[in-house]
């Protein structure tokens, strides 16, 4: 069994930080999924990939921009035309999808070691994220399950809303420590707890 190392290193400081007036405004967690897999459909094969996600992960995605589903231990969403990110707490999803999706339909890229997943939750989650990204994070414009691709100062980020006040962010592993530190700084004013 290989020991997993977090790219956050010493920047991950569990406990309460910042302006904790009446509790933490947000909670920051590194969710450490065992599998982060990117699926790309060739043109016209999008439906095949959506069907495969339903069969393999049990997640029924609607056919639309950014459509996604989030469950306790797995999630999937579209982040670009014909492209999907599938996440699971269990390891080995890349191999399962490689077996399920042939080169006739699309491509499978295992990003489990290439992305870091950060969960930002709490009453002030929308407020903190709005400081990073020029997006409308209100529940009406950004419903639960929806995924988006965006960037903060050239740090590419994929964001899925996984709850009414909960967002999962996927950033490049090599940028994760810097991005995490920025998230902590931005969360100081509302008080934050790291778990």
């Amino acid at each position: 069994m290989v020991e997993q190392l977090s790219p956050l290193g010493d920047a991950w400081k569990p406990g309460a930080h910042g302006r904790m007036l009446g509790g933490a405004g947000v909670t920051l967690v590194e969710t450490r999924p065992g599998s982060i897999v990117q699926l790309a459909a060739w043109r016209g094969e999008e439906k095949t990939i959506i069907d495969t996600i339903r069969d393999v992960s049990g997640l029924a995605l609607a056919d639309g921009a950014g459509a996604g589903v989030a469950e306790a231990s797995r999630a999937a969403f579209g982040f670009a035309p014909g492209k999907f990110l599938v996440v699971d707490q269990a390891e080995g999803l890349g191999a399962t999808y490689r077996a399920a999706i042939t080169t006739d339909h699309g491509a499978v890229t295992d990003l489990s070691h290439g992305r870091t997943a950060i969960r930002l939750s709490g009453q002030r989650a929308e407020w903190v994220l709005a400081k990073f990204f020029a997006l409308d994070f209100s529940l009406a414009a950004f419903p639960v399950g929806l995924g988006v691709s965006t960037a903060h100062h050239d740090v590419f980020a994929q964001i899925q809303r996984t709850g009414a006040d909960q967002f999962d962010l996927y950033v490049f592993r090599s940028f994760a420590r810097a991005f995490w530190t920025s998230l902590c700084h931005a969360s100081e004013e509302v008080g934050y707890e790291v778990r």
């Binding site: 950014g66 670009a80 035309p81 020029a134 988006v148 691709s149 965006t150 960037a151």
Partner: protein, 113 residues
């Protein structure tokens, strides 16, 4: 400036990178016609008005977009996925395409060849 990506919706300019004039058609790579290549590499319509250009949503879904933008007001007239916008891969000559539905969007420049 805000560009409405057909996939991602309205996004700020910082997420996009400019990929050049969208009125050009790359000549046949086997061609050795110097005038054609000179035209492709150097000549621009330099429109004052609606201009077709290629942008990439580099800080988002990363697709290439064909955007018609007014060079006078920065108003975005239309945005479409470049793969759906009817661009030819190679061959042809843009000066010969005037009047073609996939030809240049150039405003006044088309009237003054």
């Amino acid at each position: 400036m805000i560009i409405t990506c057909p996939y991602c919706g309205p996004r700020d300019l910082v997420e996009f990178s400019y990929q050049g004039d969208g009125n050009r058609t790359r000549p046949d790579p086997a061609s050795t016609d110097q005038a054609t290549w000179n035209d492709y590499v150097y000549d621009r319509i330099n429109t004052a008005g609606d201009h077709r250009e290629i942008w990439q949503h580099a800080g988002g879904c990363r697709v290439h977009l064909t955007v018609v933008r007014s060079t006078l007001t920065h108003e975005i007239r239309s945005v479409a996925l470049t793969r759906d916008a009817g661009h030819r891969r190679s061959g042809g000559h843009r000066r010969a395409e005037a009047g073609d539905s996939t030809g240049p969007v150039s405003g006044s420049a088309e009237a003054q060849p």
